[in-house]
Amino acid sequence: MEKKELKTPLLDELEKGPWPSFVREIKKSAEKNPMARDTLGQLERSYEDRISHWKHGGLVGVMGYGGGVIGRYSDLPEEFPEVAAFHTYRVNQPSGWFYTSEALRTICDIWEKHGSGLTNMHGSTGDIILLGSKTEALEPCFADLTEAGWDLGGSGSDVRTPSCCVGPARCEWACYDTLEACYDITQSYQDELHRPMFPYKYKFKFAGCPNDCVAAIARSDMSIIGTWKDAIQIDQEKVREYASDGVDIEAEVVDLCPTGCIAWDGQKITIDNSECVKCMHCINVMPKALAPGKERGATILIGAKAPIVGGALLSSVFVPFIEMKPPFEEIKELAEAIWDVWGEYGKNRERVGEFIQRVGLGNFLEEIGLEPVPEMIAHPRTNPYIFFDEELEEDEDEE
């Protein structure tokens, strides 16, 4: 096919300005890669028309896998034949998005050979997104990827690619090994990740502390967030240093503690740890002086999701505190118990957070075999519509 000069006056506007330009990126690949060139062409058309020129995907993928590839077709295939089919791979990233230059080059080489040369580093779920492959290239590219040690992540109604914060690799606050947990869970659930068999997607995210740098509570069906049980570790000397370096401890720390459990007398701070809700704020402000306690673990929360279609949810507390040691048996038992119940009774396209609201958290706990504890709720019910069990009277008599 003859190489016409491609005019992209609208997109060119987005090469201006200080922020690095995605248009520049597409152009970099477009110089050599005809798929990237047509991507650019079709995108310019979208800018003219103010509408997407992509169509629904349909079922494409690699043999034996039900997910990992997002099918995509152009609605202008005659004009942009190179992107007539333009599927993306979701390649499962390494825990914490750590790479060596060598590993990256391997991926680049594979993608130069089989695809558009365009990527997202990374997708919102965490995968390496290889953006745009023809249908016939899917299998060979996959073979090269696995050969090089890379596998696909999730898509469809399966376990989605777990992700985690940088954790113990470079953060002093990690209350458990987020990277190992993420890796272990991902490896343990390869089948659930690659072969959709749930009512809908199921996402894991691992954050090392309540700062939640991987936004687990907002976007994972199972959010594992590090925390601690005992006293915050304090180095009073360093507290004084912060004070003399200009931190207004009263205004910036004491007044902002959500439970008002810190006091500062100008010389030392005292924390009533029984009132502390492990919010991290005081530690965040004075990282040299304060640190999470030593009895560390995680809170397990479940059910976060985006709004479609019942409204967005944040995860809610499921297990207030759990120790996090490999092989993470409790997490796995819990996840599998959830999948059993949700798998059996969940409706199609019903996320686990919605499912729990539909069947009632109390009933769900009974099915899972977990004791209700008040930590699971913000407050007890305000409405009097209690579904009393038949055996109520006897139950009560036992107390």
Partner: protein, 360 residues
């Protein structure tokens, strides 16, 4: 074509092989960190070892050419070790502080800004838009680029009261943590889907389609003798769920698609509990290539926040302190009936007390 020996279910590579030796050695024993300057941090281990991080902004959409460039920089400065962050920034991990300056210089020359740390604005988490998604009510990368060009100074300087997280999603599916962002920019459809009655019977199952609509706006109908559906336009809230299950329900619309702005969400548990973002501006027009209305709206909100919030106060914490009436007053954003929730838990969002400031 000779296909290499096929493996499956090997999972991702073990991250440990990608860790900088200094990180491997001090794994889990970091003591504290300091932000040395915007985009540059040091983490100090109990052993006394120090690892330096240089963080740079990227457009997320990267050509393999650029990835190779980053790999080259890593070879030169870090022994080949680098990572990406949860907000799409690239981080170089150095053991030699002397190399920070030269690395920064090269990044600068390449056009990748160093910054994104501390109390400022980091990269905008975003989605596919017109680059790859069929549902998008607007482009993603273009809006993000236009907005970041204006917020650039808050990426390279830590000059805000607290972290300010901006996120973008191109449709109500909200891929990304858009619903819990200090500022969320969200593509919205505002017109009921156009039905392709010709394709519908071929492509979709009517019962599934009818069931997909959360408001029950879709009803089976016979059109020109064929089994199809009709949409009760008054009941449609433009969620696009029907389009997700059936391509013949065209929700995209060049005239009526646009962008909404949401504010005050957060994810961290620091100080206050995580919060959803709330509607600030229901609709702004799709105006490529630079979406001036959207850029202006975001910059305005950032400026008002920067001027009025107290130190450590996230957007939502600030608004809760001053109250929503004052937020609308200070930003000059008009309050409309669209701001008032009318979905399932709407009643929970009404003001059920007399705690009012009465200053208007």
């Amino acid at each position: 074509m000779a296909v290499a020996q096929r493996k499956t279910d090997i999972g991702p590579p073990d991250f440990k092989q990608f860790l900088h030796p200094l990180i491997k050695k001090n794994y889990g024993t970091w003591k504290y960190h300091e932000i040395l300057e915007p985009g540059v941090m040091v983490h100090v281990a109990e052993s006394g070892d120090r690892i330096y991080t240089v963080r740079a902004g990227t457009p997320r959409l990267l050509s393999i050419e650029s990835i190779r460039t980053f790999a080259g920089l890593a070879d030169t400065y870090t022994g080949g070790y680098l990572r990406w962050t949860s907000r799409h920034n690239v981080e170089f991990l150095l053991d030699d502080p002397a190399k920070i300056g030269p690395l920064k210089k090269e990044l600068h020359e390449l056009g990748y800004p160093v910054g994104g740390t501390g109390n400022g604005i980091s990269s905008i988490v975003h989605t596919q838009g017109w680059v790859h998604c069929h549902s998008s009510a607007s482009d993603a990368s273009g809006v993000v680029k236009a907005v970041m060009d204006e917020l650039y100074g808050h990426f390279t300087h830590m000059d805000l009261p607290a972290k300010l997280r901006v996120a973008y999603a191109c449709c109500l599916n909200m891929c990304g943590a858009v619903h819990c962002s200090d500022i969320a920019i969200l593509g919205v459809h505002t017109k009921a889907p156009t039905i392709n009655h010709g394709d519908l019977p071929k492509m979709c199952e009517v019962p599934t389609l009818v069931a997909s609509c959360p408001t029950g706006a879709i009803r089976p109908a016979s059109v020109d003798g064929k089994q199809s559906v009709e949409v009760e336009e008054e009941q449609c809230m433009f969620c696009g769920n029907c389009y997700t299950v059936c391509p013949a329900m065209q929700i995209n619309n060049a005239e009526t698609d646009g962008i909404s702005i949401w504010v005050g969400g957060k994810v961290s548990n620091a100080r206050t509990e995580p919060k959803f973002s709330k509607l600030a501006i229901p609709f702004l027009p799709n105006n490529p290539p630079r979406w001036p209305e959207v850029v202006e709206a975001v910059v305005n909100i950032v400026n008002v926040y920067a001027k009025h919030a107290r130190k450590h106060e996230r957007m939502g914490e600030w608004i809760e302190r001053i109250g929503w009436p004052r937020f609308f007053e200070l930003t000059g954003i008009p309050f409309t009936k669209y701001h008032i929730d009318d979905f399932k838990h709407a009643g929970e969002t009404f003001k059920r007390s007399t705690h009012l400031k009465h200053t208007r």
